[in-house]
């Protein structure tokens, strides 16, 4: 596939993260995460076509099951059960968040990070975009107050790392990929259980009311 198409997929991931910053509703957040995982899925399939390595196909299938179907499903079921339509707001208001997003992307694209972004000089722009998605998803966790959005932030951070790995040609052997996916799935299950426990104890998913533990 042409780099243009890869660029397009990466831009989708980038946009989903920006959307996650903005969205008010949890359902939309989950939907955005679904699209993101789909983009990762396509990327994996594309690298399968390039290298013709069967294992990549198998991994893509696993990714599809875990990230595209299972995760959003869990979350949707969670939201329906506890009617958590509106996710908690963010710390910074909208314009400020966008300013920070812009600075982070600019920083990621700056020549300062050149040693990382041109590991493979060819897709230098792709790598810097993947790096900026990483910074953005990190900032997402910092900015959002809702527990669910923080979980999604972490999952999108994981997705952006995987994207960076794919573009920087750091694919792993089959065993490692499976191990990583297994971990992510276990982590998903535990996170959802925790969210339901938080909801049961605190009545809302707003992280800021968890303030009791301080010096």
């Amino acid at each position: 596939m042409s780099t243009l198409f890869l660029q397009f997929l990466l831009q989708i991931i980038f946009l989903t993260i920006v959307f996650l910053h903005i969205t008010k509703k949890n359902l939309d957040a989950i939907f955005a995460y679904g699209i993101q995982s789909l983009a990762i899925l396509i990327l994996l399939i594309n690298s399968f076509f390039e290298t013709g390595d069967i294992s990549l196909l198998f991994i893509a299938l696993l990714v599809c099951i875990v990230k595209v179907i299972l995760a959003p499903g869990f979350f949707a079921q969670l939201i329906k059960k506890n009617e958590l339509i509106f996710s908690a707001s963010t710390y910074l208001n909208m314009p400020l968040t966008l300013v920070v997003l812009a600075t982070l992307t600019a920083m990621a694209h700056s020549y300062r990070f050149s040693p990382i972004t041109n590991i493979i000089p060819a897709n230098e722009t792709l790598l810097s975009l993947a790096l900026s998605t990483m910074f953005l998803s990190l900032f997402l966790i910092v900015n959002r107050k809702g527990a669910l959005s923080q979980i999604i932030g972490i999952l999108s951070l994981e997705n952006s790392i995987v994207a960076f790995a794919i573009f920087a040609g750091l694919e792993q052997s089959l065993g490692l990929q499976i191990g990583i996916l297994f971990d992510i799935s276990i982590w998903l299950i535990i996170a959802t259980v925790f969210i339901s426990m938080i909801y049961k104890q605190f009545g809302s998913l707003d992280v800021t009311d968890m303030k009791k533990l301080k010096e």
Binding site: P115, Q150, I180
Partner: protein
């Protein structure tokens, strides 16, 4: 050739976990976990003896050299003592129903769940340290986080949920950053052997042709990532919350076993970065974060109000001192490793005694714990000797290791050494203020003097005795291992 012993440890631990999962009988659960951790202890001693004699062994999936052997020893000892302790501790807690549980059946399932996760946690730690590939090491460390999440929220109270949540979120971010760092180590690699298993050994040998700048960035991600797990200064915020909410034996396992494991992984990466970039870069990083950790820990201990958080900050401070030890190099590394061994044993003993305090006083607030010497004298003596040991009073080894680390550092960084000594004094003053306030004074009226559980005292006494013995007589095999580490890292 140690494959068999290693597999034996893992199999026994997994079997214990499985058994706890299946059986309802509480006695069986306790005995099986005890047997599993006992086997782990014997096997790890055997392995470290072999490593001391025959040198490192890199075989397929597992690789154990000097550092891994020492860390395995630490995990095994701390693991065994905390299993012994948790049996009695949980029995006491369930009888006093401190665990916010309703109904006996629900209660038995919580205990079962505790032992399953405990065995899994120890298995994961063993795997994380002995596995030969950095990515697998990452996977198993991630697994330790997951297995302990529920252990922290064991008491099912809002504050323990909050502690567990913060632990989960912050550690997941740290682990993901470490994941990214590990991946960055591989760009020049896969051109070589395709998708073969990239092992530590391979990384070390091909360190020369890695791109220095990428390696620097990678090491920063590794250091910040795994540093969250170890608890260096800016990333330490989860530690006091998690330790103060987790049951005492789990706190002991965290600071006694998990901290050395994460530290060891950072050290392995440090070895590789030093080979490519030269040791100055990693030393500066260690010094800055080490100093920051000691400073923040010293400051907060001065005004802390909860004795379990006090122990958490003491772990942060000791992690900082170990980092300084590794940064100063030469004798410092030998002393830092020794410091790690002493710290794990003494800190676990302190955690066990804090568990006893909690059982007697039902509150973790320093203000509400008074006159411990009259209520539970043995724990009071243990807590006080533990305090003196951890802050570096002579009969115990930490005094020597601190002096060696400082003497290694005085050559190039006199001012840093001076600040560390000053901070150590402030920490001593803060810690003493709380320890003497708790141990002496008039006990509150409603606390009645009761006979202390035998099995609640034996593990901490055993650990303190071991630490005292080690501070005067270091067995030859341990000495050779530590020397190998000092040369290697």
């Amino acid at each position: 050739m140690y494959q068999t012993e290693l597999l034996f440890i893992l199999i026994s631990l997994f079997a214990a976990a499985l058994l706890c999962f299946l059986s309802r009988n509480r006695r069986l659960i306790e005995v099986s976990s005890l047997v599993a951790s006992g086997i782990a202890l014997m096997e790890s001693v055997a392995i470290s003896l072999q490593v001391a004699h025959f040198g490192a062994n890199v075989s397929g999936f597992f690789s154990t050299d000097a550092l891994e052997a020492v860390i395995m020893l630490i995990i095994a000892v701390v693991g065994f003592t905390s299993t012994v302790y948790s049996i009695e501790y949980l029995r006491r807690e369930t009888s006093k129903n401190i665990i916010g549980l309703s109904g006996v059946s629900h209660l038995r399932s919580r205990v079962r769940e505790y032992f399953i996760l405990l065995n899994l946690f120890m298995a994961m730690m063993f795997l994380a340290i002995t596995v030969s590939s950095p990515i697998f090491a990452w996977i198993f460390i991630e697994a330790t986080t997951l297995s302990t999440a529920f252990l922290i929220s064991f008491y099912n109270k809002p504050s323990s949920i909050e502690g567990a949540w913060k632990y989960l979120i912050i550690n997941s971010i740290g682990i993901l950053l470490a994941f990214f760092g590990t991946l960055l180590f591989f760009p020049a690699m896969n051109s070589g052997i395709g998708n073969g298993l990239i092992t530590w050994h391979l990384l070390a040998t091909s360190a020369a042709n890695l791109d220095p700048l990428v390696i620097k960035v990678a090491f920063i991600f590794i250091f910040i990532g795994y540093g969250t797990k170890v608890g260096f200064a800016p990333m330490h915020t989860w530690k006091p919350d998690a330790y103060s909410r987790a049951p005492a034996p789990i706190g002991a396992l965290f600071s006694g076993a998990l901290l050395p494991v994460a530290f060891a992984v950072i050290l392995k990466f440090k070895m590789i970065t030093d080979a490519t970039v030269g040791s100055l870069f990693s030393q500066n990083l260690f010094i800055i974060f080490g100093l920051l950790s000691v400073a923040i820990a010293a400051a907060i201990i001065f005004v802390s109000r909860n004795y379990k958080r006090l122990l958490a900050y003491s772990s942060i401070e000791n992690a900082g001192i170990m980092a300084l030890g590794f940064a100063f190099g030469g004798l410092g590394i030998f002393a830092a490793m020794l410091h790690m061994v002493y710290h794990s044993f003494i800190k676990s003993a302190l955690f066990f005694s804090s568990g006893n305090l909690l059982l007697a006083y039902h509150s973790a607030k320093i203000a509400s714990v008074r006159g411990v010497i009259n209520i539970i004298p043995v724990t009071a003596v243990l807590f006080l000797t533990g305090f003196f040991a951890i802050t570096g009073a002579p009969p115990f080894g930490i005094f020597f290791t601190k002096i060696f680390i400082l003497s290694a550092g005085i050559k190039e960084h006199p001012f840093i050494v001076a600040t560390v000594v000053l901070l150590a004094t402030i920490l001593f003053i803060g810690f003493l203020k709380h320890a003497s306030a708790m141990v002496f004074g008039q006990p509150p009226a409603d606390i009645v003097k009761e006979k202390e559980g035998l099995w609640l005292i034996i593990p901490p006494i055993a650990l303190m005795a071991l630490a005292l013995l080690l501070s005067f007589y270091i067995p030859p095999f341990l000495y050779t291992l530590l020397n190998k580490i000092a040369l290697h890292y």
